[in-house]
């Protein structure tokens, strides 16, 4: 068997192995090790497995994960999302679809400190949906926006998806963060437009809610101000080169912690809960990365990335169609495995092709982040939709009817990014000269 054929056979075995319910990170490590042993002998393969795991968990670059995850968890447990929603509610709650729009604004603000999509959907499912129910909002609109709004976390910094992409492809996390800002805000704007239009066409979907006096609105401003401050310090610090991404994560976490303690929003128990949950998520992500590093060493020996690159470059179609094809593969693969896990698995294979096709790696990172965002709301593995279903007990079919217009918004922004790559590349080009 040639090396490429060996690689393909082992990748097929890996997909079959995933079907047995093995942990995806462990499956990748196992197939990487066995495949490497097949080509280079067992001694080298076993040493590779031990060495790769040691290298991943002692790599300074990977310290960025637990710190940014902790920042989001502290923000989550301190109830920052709830107060951001409350502030947005007071400002725009009274306009057509205002409560759903407040969900988008609150989530956009919360995304500036928390990268987890599922945590955002869970928070807003418990807070925003009961409020929308109180004013008689249609279930399709209320559950649809809450299930989709979490996806903003894939794109708006500090997005875990962008950090993982940066780590795998050795691209600047600072540049990726900057590149995610405009597309992320554009998606939020599209969501607002969809809600406004939907509520205007069918006012019964979103009956008007109470209007708050300016005094109440102004009182809710400090919450927005503090979150914005932390976001500016984190992103600004990376942008000016004053921080490494790890330092930005630590400073952001510390700032959120001090704020939460000063305002008595977080007790010791809440901090312990945040740390314990962060350990779980960071451990899960780093085990996926460690598995993909071991598999990556095997894949590199098989020459599959180079062959894939050559094959894709020689396809008789425009390079944007090739990119579309890559996105569809990510969506298809992510639907059957897990979007984040598939991204970790597939990026080392497709990245050389993307470079060879002349695409900007930073732009590709944002395109993949939007693809993952689409992936987390489409079946069969739609984490955010499951979260909303479990909390609200609304049938999946009903939620999907509401998700559809927002899903289309995500795809439209993805399309705009293809047509105007500057949407992602302009900010990094201004700040990282």
């Amino acid at each position: 068997m040639s090396e490429v054929t060996t690689g393909i056979v082992f990748l097929i075995i890996l997909l079959l192995l995933f079907g047995t319910g093995i942990e995806l990170g462990f499956g990748m490590a196992l197939i990487g090790m066995v495949g490497f042993a097949y080509l280079n002998g067992w001694t080298a393969a076993m040493q590779l497995a031990g060495r790769d795991i040691y290298d991943v968990i002692t790599n300074y670059g990977y310290t960025v994960f637990p710190l940014f995850i902790l920042m989001g968890q502290i923000g989550f447990n301190a109830g920052i999302a709830v107060r951001l929603y409350d502030a947005a509610h007071k400002f725009i709650g009274h306009i057509p679809g205002g409560l759903a729009m407040a969900t988008v604004c609150g989530a956009t603000g919360f995304k500036a400190i928390c990268g987890s999509s599922a945590a955002t959907s869970a928070t807003f499912a418990s807070v925003a949906i009961p409020e929308m129910d109180r004013f008689g909002y249609d279930k399709r609109l209320s559950t649809g926006i809450v299930a989709t709004v979490g996806t903003l976390g894939c794109i708006i910094p500090p997005s875990v998806v962008l950090i993982i992409f940066g780590v795998i492809t050795e691209q600047s996390i600072g540049k990726l963060f900057m590149a995610g800002i405009i597309p992320g805000l554009l998606i939020a704007l599209f969501f607002l437009g969809v809600i406004y239009g939907w509520a205007k066409i069918n006012p019964k979907l979103a009956p008007q809610s109470q209007k708050f006096p300016w005094k109440a609105r102004v009182r809710s401003l400090p919450e927005i101000f503090w979150v914005l401050m932390v976001f500016c310090v984190v992103v600004g610090g990376i942008m000016t080169g004053f921080f490494t991404p790890t330092e930005a994560g630590a400073v952001g976490t510390f700032a959120i912690l001090v704020l939460a303690l000063a305002k008595r929003d977080l007790k010791f128990k809440g901090y312990v809960k945040s740390v314990t949950e962060s350990l779980g998520t960071a451990g899960m992500i780093l085990m996926l990365i460690a598995g993909s590093v071991i598999l990556g060493h095997f894949i590199a020996v098989t020459n599959i990335p180079q062959q894939t690159a050559e094959w894709l470059v020689e396809l008789p179609i425009h390079r944007y169609f090739v990119m579309l094809l890559i996105c569809i593969i990510y969506l298809f693969g992510g639907s059957f495995i897990d979007d984040l896990a598939f991204m970790i698995l597939a990026t080392p294979i497709f990245y050389p092709a993307v470079e060879k096709l002349g695409f900007d790696p930073i732009w590709f990172g944002v395109v993949i982040a939007i693809t993952v965002a689409v992936g987390v709301v489409i079946p069969p593995v739609a984490v955010c939709v499951f979260v909303v279903k479990n909390i609200t007990k609304v049938p999946m079919g009903e939620i999907y009817k509401g998700v559809m217009p927002f899903l289309i918004s995500l795809i439209v922004v993805g399309g705009l990014l293809f047509a105007f790559p500057q949407l992602a590349l302009w900010l990094p080009s201004v700040f990282f000269k």
């Binding site: 093995i22 031990g50 740390v275």
Partner: protein
């Protein structure tokens, strides 16, 4: 019903979680202190290497915890279609594969630690020896094997009960 083995594993996991959580808190405080002191021209010597070694404690000590909490990403939908017997066999099969993987990783981490110890490999600034970290992570991988064994025991015990 929990037996002594499960209670032992949960106890060990709790200790590892406390150590991992403390390491994460130290990692944050150390990094913030370094940033602040650096702004005044007095960075903490070797902060980067300390943070990297702390990551080994944070993640290494968390490996068994994530498995015990069933926190890893898996493809469930095919497994759910199997009969309870088929599911038990499949879980046993995957656990055995993972035990093999972690036994190999654990053994090789001990070898790496031994090599570090013999060659006297230390971090560049603070001269911290690497071998204790490699030994610790090796032990954690061995504990992961025990967690996986307990999964098998639990599946078959549940079937008999």
């Amino acid at each position: 019903m929990e037996n002594k083995f499960d209670i032992f594993l949960k106890g060990v996991n709790k200790i590892l979680t406390v150590i991992g959580g403390t390491a994460l808190t130290i990692m944050m405080l150390l990094t913030v202190s370094d940033v602040i002191l650096r702004a005044f021209g007095h960075p903490i010597l070797g902060a980067y290497e300390l943070v990297a070694l702390l990551l080994a404690i944070v993640i290494g000590f968390t490996i068994p915890k994530v498995s015990l909490d069933k926190g890893h990403v898996i493809m469930e939908f095919l497994l759910e279609k199997l009969s309870s017997n088929g599911k038990a066999i499949m879980i046993t099969f995957t656990r055995l594969l993972c035990i093999g993987l972690f036994a190999i990783v654990s053994y090789n981490l001990f070898l790496i630690a031994k090599e570090f110890n013999l060659s006297g490999e230390v971090s560049s600034t603070l001269k911290i020896p690497f071998y204790p970290i490699a030994y610790c992570v090796g032990v954690c991988c061995f504990i992961e094997c025990l967690v996986l064994v307990s999964d098998i025991v639990m599946v078959w015990r549940a079937r008999h009960e």
